[in-house]
């Protein structure tokens, strides 16, 4: 037991640094923007708006990054993430379907205090669950890394098309159409305090549960057979992991729409610092995901121009090259070159 303290200390230092970074970025994000006002009331409104935006960013980043850790562990695939596997798109369609369906119902009947948007998180959750279970079923017999990614890609195209179909069907109603379109873009600005309060418990539950499931996921890195002989109930771990990923993805999509690549980039950036063990990686991913999304959002707001660049565009600009780099590295390793 004469172990050097260094391997244990390093994750703690990383958490501390990430925490400080998150605080700094949050302060910057809440105080920084293109508009400013000398009128104290207006300034306070602007601050509240930016604060909400920052909160949404932190929640979304944590949810997607931890979701990324979960699916990478579950599929033993370093290139998996909720957006690449089609889960965010499925959650998006679920949310849109909920908006569309409930709104159509409410037009004809129903008490006025019920608003369609209250059902969006539920729709997202169901959508993400359906998407992930479909993927699990389609990819059940494949151990091939690329086959899984291709299946996810096809599913996400399918869900995007379904979403587009719903959007075009909803254009008769201007309000609904606008809500549907902003939902698909991926942005932090569209949500209010109420949505934050809806998503917060989902993200907290998802992250804590993910941490608890981290130990069997470590064993699943050896493949399902070996995990089973070591005592892991593989079927239950698979189902629960899918459920928590769906919860996290749904929470994120319901407040910010489709933001890609967070779940891919963040865990990869953090593994060198905290290691590959899930229980160490998950807290770091939650903090680091928040940092990444808030930073991307600040960046998108600091670009000179008339309108804000949608956040999904910025994460895509960072994430797609990172994905390609990882893909090439993995291919080289597998190809033995």
């Amino acid at each position: 037991m004469s172990a050097a303290p260094e391997p244990r200390l390093r994750p703690l230092l990383t958490y501390l640094l990430l925490g400080l970074m998150l605080c700094g970025l949050a302060a910057l994000s809440a105080s920084f923007g293109r508009s400013s006002s000398d009128d104290p009331a207006l300034a306070s409104t602007l601050f509240t708006l930016r604060l909400t935006r920052t909160e949404v960013g932190i929640l979304v980043g944590a949810a997607l990054a931890v979701g990324g850790v979960l699916v990478q562990g579950l599929f033993r695939n370093p290139l998996a993430s909720p957006s690449i596997l089609g889960a965010t798109e499925a959650a998006g369609v679920g949310g849109q379907a909920a908006l569309f369906g409930i709104q159509s119902l409410l037009q004809h009947a129903g008490p006025s205090w019920i608003q369609a948007e209250m059902f969006v998180p539920l729709g997202c959750l169901l959508g993400a669950l359906v998407g992930l279970l479909l993927l699990l079923w389609l990819a059940r017999s494949t151990t091939d890394l690329l086959a899984l990614l291709l299946t996810g890609f096809l599913l996400s195209s399918l869900f995007l098309s379904l979403g587009a179909l719903l959007t075009s069907l909803s254009q008769d109603n201007w309000e609904l159409g606008r809500a549907m379109v902003s939902f698909t873009l991926g942005d932090l600005g569209g949500s209010g305090q109420r949505q934050v309060l809806l998503a917060l418990p989902l993200v907290v539950i998802g992250c804590v549960a993910a941490w608890f499931w981290g130990r069997p996921l470590d064993l699943m890195l050896s493949g399902e057979d070996e995990a089973r002989t070591l005592g892991v109930d593989v079927r239950s771990v698979r189902l629960w992991t899918i459920t928590w990923t769906a919860v996290l993805t749904a929470a994120s999509v319901s407040v910010a729409g489709n933001i890609a690549f967070v779940g891919l980039v963040v865990p990869h950036a953090l593994r060198p610092f905290v290691g590959v063990g899930h229980r160490r990686l998950i807290p770091a991913a939650a903090l680091g995901g928040g940092c990444f999304v808030v930073a991307c959002d600040v960046f998108s707001r600091s670009i000179p121009g008339q309108a804000d660049l949608p956040l999904g565009v910025v994460t895509g600009l960072v994430g797609a090259p990172a994905f390609l780099f990882l893909l090439m590295r993995t291919q080289r390793r597998l190809g033995g070159v």
């Binding site: 130990r215 064993l219 890195l221 050896s222 057979d225 070996e226 089973r228 070591l230 005592g231």
Partner: protein, 265 residues
Amino acid sequence: MLTTTKLEAATPEPSAELDVRISSLALGGRIVLRDLSLSCSPGSHTAILGPNGAGKTSLLRAVAGLIPYEGHTRLGNDDLGRVSGPDRARRIAYVPQRSLLDSALPVEAVVMQGRYAHQSGFGRASQRDQNAVTHALGVTDTEALRHRSYIELSGGEQRRVLLARALATEAPVVLLDEPTASLDIAHALEFFAQLSALANAGRIVLTILHDLRDAERFCDRALVLHQGSVRHLGTARLPATVVGEVYGVRVRESAARDFELEAPK
């Protein structure tokens, strides 16, 4: 039965016999094993032999509870087909021919995975877990690798770490599928010495092997499978007729051996 007091109630009785009966085992509609009956007593090391496709790996996977079959596997009074996953994991350790593990987990964490079935959901390692890991690392001579990353180890080192993980389970039955296939002769000899030590310590060891001379030298007895049936169960020095029939080769008896290999000290 109560002679070894250091094992707690949760672990199975260490002196139990392993009793495997497989009336038939089918994979994809094809029968790959039939009418197999095998009893192993504690301290025995059984070689499982036979040509490719004879059903050796299927037998091991069936005993490990990974594939369904008609029949039963008992350890003492426990029917292993009816116990829970963790209960089985505490009784049977399995080291597959090729592990899918290729991650940068530290060696210590990999070996600690052998304790999964002993730990509660929260997963804090008890002193007993720590002791089991340290013991397994010591027995397999991997103590020095403890803080290294698994993926950076050589093939031979990885095999030893996986054996350590299997030993950390403290399961009385250890199943190994061609454990020395990727090892050079020095490491293979060392590995066999470790397996013999395990059997001598009272475990039941079943090892799939291809080299008949390894089986003869390191195992007490051999089970030879041929086209899914038992062709020989008994002495590890196979009769020439069995070798000739099962492997389809011509056997020339010869007393002379050019050299004997010894494990390095």
